[in-house]
Each structure stands twice: as structure tokens, then as C-alpha cells.
Amino acid sequence: MADAVDMAIVDKGIDDSIGKLTPERIESVIRRVLDKESGARLQVYVETCVRCGLCAEACHTYLSRDKDPDYSPVAKVKATLWEMTRRNGRVDGPFLRNAARIAFTECGTCRRCSMYCPFGIDIAYLLSTVRRICALLGIVPQYMQDTTNAHSVASNQMWIQQDDWIDALMWQEEEACAELPGALIPLDKEGADVMYSVIAPEAKILAQLIGNMAILMKAAKVDWTMPSADGWDNSNMAMFSGDYEIMGRVERAHWERAVQLRVKRVVMGECGHAFRGAVYDGPKWLGWRGPPIPMVHAVEFYYELLSTGRLKIARKITEPVTLQDPCNIVRGRGLHDKLRYVVRALCEDFRDMDPRDEHNFCCAAGGGVINCGPPWKLSRLKSIRVKAEQLAATKAHTVITPCHNCHSGIEDIIGHYKLGMHTKFVNELLVKCIEMPGS
């Protein structure tokens, strides 16, 4: 049985909106999504699934909740999409309330289960389709909807005003120059080799990450730039809330900014879901088969700088570290080997987790789950005991998390399960370890 405490969680975004729905509206929205917005993929997936349950073992939610069958991937689809299909959209409020909880908070669309299903059924896609239905019906967890609203207004996920953004960049330039003279942040530099794009938390709460990047760029002599205007944040909660129109708008703004600046490529900061939004989901909805200009994730960029000797390591981190593979850059881009190259270059005592690489467990924060906010925090942490056990087994002090979601998610896990570790971005270790020019 699904956890009774979680089932009772009240979220304004879901509970207050459900009452306003009429049966006609529900039916017409579900049928629109099933008949018009979906097609062969959905049909094949629903029909092919032989209900073998082999996907269960893949899911951290299922494993962390004592293998409660309600949390297996296929059970989540059964409780949501299959029923909607079977009843041809004629479902009621309580059903939708349950479906929204499952789709938004009990699946992080991490896609691990697709690697365990012998048919490669994309459960994350099916549950995203449920999210889409919920979004069209206006039932989205409050905090996630608020983030989507921020994207729609500000083209970034934290309502950051345009002047605050520029100010943060200028401030970080000063900070970086204090560490390494000449570590400038060139704004809107047309034709630069690299445009660096970040997500809003870097401007609002983790600004030093931008300063760090300025130091790394200077040390590696990279011709780079950052945009001073909207389009700098390509993170995308709208992608997870099911508001594909806003998702598309945000990604369009980002890519058009890059095209306008005529940069050769975009380096995405240490964020997995933003990478996913900019490389897959956004372009796909907009009609691009891939990003119109190449994009590399920071991990790949660091790998490039280190392996070509453009950045040299002067000293290594000695305390034991472990590494969280972010879903969106391992299952999403196969960067696990490069990531380990970087980590080994920086750390003497690296203790890997198991399972790892494409088979990593999600941090349970991804896929928008952490953005569902405080009401769901405890539920999220219950869903990720496996990660806590994995972390504890390494006995590391530092967990390297090259993704904002992983960073916050693991931070929460450490706190909740009292692991006594701390998290770091690769960028924070790099600035400590590299050889500074002129020193």
C-alpha cells in the first residue's frame, strides 16, 4: 500500500484546483492528450508491457520503500495512465489527486527503469504524459507551478530581475579578479568560442560558482562570454510541470541568445536537468533535432581542459570523496567515464558508488521532485533510502555532485539520514586544485 502519510499530504496546487474541475473538462483534456498529443509511442508502450514487473528493481522509490509494489514503475503507470486509457478519460477528482502525487512526486523521470524493462518501455515518458494531463487541468504542485510561473515571467526559475542578474555577474567578476587578476566575465561578447550558461540558483544563492568559472576560464585561456540579457537560464521546470509551451519559450530564448551572440558552442554549468532541457526536451518540442549550436556540459568541458593540459592540477584533495552520477548526464549523455577522469585528477581518495554510471540511482530531487517543495520533502527522503545506504557505504567525507538537483537532493539526504558528509560541485574543487597562471 502506498504510504498513508504521503497520500494525505495537502498541496494547494493540487487540492485547491481539483474541486474546480468538471467531468467534461477532465475527459476532454485526457482525450486530447491521449488522442492528439500522443500517438504510436504511447500505444506501443501501453500495449507491449507484459506486466512482468522486471522494472521494479530499477526504481529507487520502490527499493527505498521496502519494495512496496505500489511504487514499482509499472504500478505507477497502472494507477495513472492505464486507468485513464481504460476509462477513456472518465476519471474523477480523487483519482487525479492520486495520479498527480504519483506522477509529480514519486517519479523523478530518471529513466533508470527503461534500462531494466526488457522492452525499453519509457516509463518516464508515460508519467510525463500524466504530468502533462495534470498541467493542462491546472493541477500541479504549488511550488513547481510557481517555478514554472517564474520561467514564464522572467525566463529564469527564480524570478531574478534583469538588473540583479547583471549585478551578480559584475560582482562575481570582482570576486574572481581578487583571486586571479584578469579573471573577467566578458558580457555579450559576439563570436566568442564559448557561451557559459547557468541556472538561476547560481545567480541568486551560489554566485561563487560563476566567479569560479571566471577563474577557470582565465586559467585555461578560454575565449568566453555570458549573456547579460534574458536567455541565460536554460533550466526548465516547465519541462517537468508539463507546461511544454513555457518550456519551449524558455529554450527558444536561450538558443536565440546563443545564435545572436554567434558563439561556437555553449558550455552548460553543473546542472543536469538544464542540460536535458537545452539539449533534448526543449529542442525537440521546438522542432530541432538537437541543440542548434553544440552544447557541452561542464563535466565534459572540464574533462577537455584537463585532458588537453589547458588546466593543470597543482594539488589534490586528500579527504575521501565519492561521486553522484547525475542521471541527466550519465543516462542522459554518457559522461560517467569523463566525470571519473576529472574526479580522479582532482582527488586522491576517490571511492566510487555501486551501482554507478548509467546504472546510478537518481538523487530523488531530479525531474522536478525537489521543486514540489516543502510539503513533499519528507516523502522524497523516504523514497531515497537506497542512496543514503550507498553514500554511507563509501565512508567518504565529500560527495561530488555536478548537478544542482543532485547537490540539493544529496544535501537533504545527508541531513535526513545524518550521514555527516558534505556536497561539492566539481567547480569548487577545481579552483582549489588548479595551477594558477603566474603563480
Binding site: 509511442r41 506501443v44 504500478a75 522492452f119 549523455r333 554518457g334
Partner: protein, 218 residues
């Protein structure tokens, strides 16, 4: 075979092939409407994925469940090989169309038949015993497995000439042929169509993982 079996057999084969073609064509149409699906399919990575998933113990999940993997592969291999390579069927192919090919020695065929039946029983028990499977199981899932093993059961009974005192051989054969016909005809229209879609769902996932996300999917 009796003359009255002939239309039944024909109907079953027509249902199978016409059904599969129909499903394929209408699904292709549907896929074309969903503009991103067909362009995403990638021959190389699609094939890579299929290949990796038809080799026993090649995926992590197969290694994590050795018993299931053995049963599943044995079940499927025997399930496909037995009817095609069966002496009792070969005779029919020959008399109908003059087609001939190699047949399994009868004892082997008996064994493969039993493997399928045993596999089916295993799946049935698993549906009851494993909570994560029971959770998503409906009556139709049991019926489907029963349908799948029914030609094997009836064929075996006929061959062994069991229960001859109560059921004449010819009746048993008729029952067998009805079961076989249902079996064939059910493939395109039930979840047994996974035989057809397996190739496509795997190829799609393989293309996404390989060509777009540059990762492995096994």
C-alpha cells in the same frame, strides 16, 4: 488433419499475417503523425539495443535474476522453435504445400514442449507469488499464459495419446488445432503483439540512448 480443419487453419494464418500487417501499417501511420518518432529511429543504435537484449545475461537486470532469465529464454526459444520444427507439423506442411525442412527428433520436441509448459507454469506462479507482479496482474494475464501454453498442452496430450479412452485422438487433435489457431490469431490483437513491438520499442529506446544521449541501455 480432417478436411474441416483446413478452413480453421487458414483463418488462423490469415488472421496472424493480415493482423500483423494491419497493426504495422496503422502504427506506422500513427508514428508518422507524431512528427518526432520516425526521424529519431536510428538503424545502428536500434540494432545495437535489440542485439544486446536478445543475448542472455547481457543486461544488468538479466544478471540480477538468473532464474528468470533462464526460464524466459528457454520458454521463448522453445515456444518459437517447437511448432516450427515439429515432426507432427512438418508432415502437414509437406502434404499441404510440399514444403520440407529439418525437424526436431520427437524426444527433443517433447522436451521443448514441456519446457514451454513449465515456463508457463512458472510465469503463472510468479504472478501469484511476486508482489510487484501480482500488483499489476489482471485475470487476462493468467488467461493469456494459459492460452499460450494450451497448444503445447493439447499437442502433447495428443501425441502421447493420453486420455484416449475418454477423448478420441481426432477430437484431441481438433482441440489442439483450435487452441493453435487461437494462439496464432491472438498474436496481433493481444499483448502477445509484444513479439512485434519488441523490435520497435527497443529500437526506439536504443536510438534515444545511443544516438542522442550517447549512453548504453542495457
Amino acid at each position: 488433419m480432417y478436411p474441416y480443419h483446413v478452413p480453421l487453419v487458414w483463418t488462423a494464418f490469415i488472421a496472424l499475417f493480415a493482423g500483423l500487417s494491419y497493426r504495422l501499417v496503422s502504427m506506422a501511420r500513427l508514428a508518422a503523425r507524431e512528427k518526432t518518432v520516425l526521424p529519431t529511429l536510428d538503424a545502428k543504435y536500434g540494432a545495437r539495443s535489440i542485439l544486446h537484449w536478445v543475448i542472455p545475461f547481457n543486461s544488468r537486470n538479466m544478471r540480477m535474476r538468473p532464474l528468470f532469465t533462464v526460464v524466459s529464454f528457454a520458454f521463448h526459444i522453445c515456444l518459437l522453435a517447437t511448432p516450427l520444427l515439429l515432426m507432427g507439423h512438418a508432415v502437414l506442411w509437406k502434404t499441404a504445400w510440399g514444403l520440407r525442412w529439418w525437424s526436431l527428433p520427437p524426444v527433443v520436441a517433447d522436451a521443448t514442449t514441456l519446457v514451454v509448459i513449465a515456463g508457463g507454469v512458472f510465469f503463472l506462479l510468479r504472478r501469484i507469488a511476486a508482489p510487484e507482479v501480482r500488483k499489476v496482474t489482471a485475470v487476462s494475464d493468467f488467461l493469456l499464459v494459459l492460452l499460450v501454453i494450451s497448444p503445447f498442452l493439447t499437442g502433447f496430450v495428443a501425441r502421447m495419446q493420453w486420455f484416449r479412452s475418454s477423448i478420441p485422438y481426432s477430437t484431441m487433435i481438433t482441440i489442439h488445432i483450435v487452441a493453435g489457431a487461437l494462439w496464432l490469431a491472438a498474436i496481433p490483437f493481444t499483448r502477445l503483439s509484444h513479439m512485434l513491438w519488441f523490435v520497435f520499442s527497443r529500437a526506439y529506446m536504443g536510438s534515444e540512448f545511443g544516438a542522442i544521449r550517447r549512453a548504453r541501455d542495457w
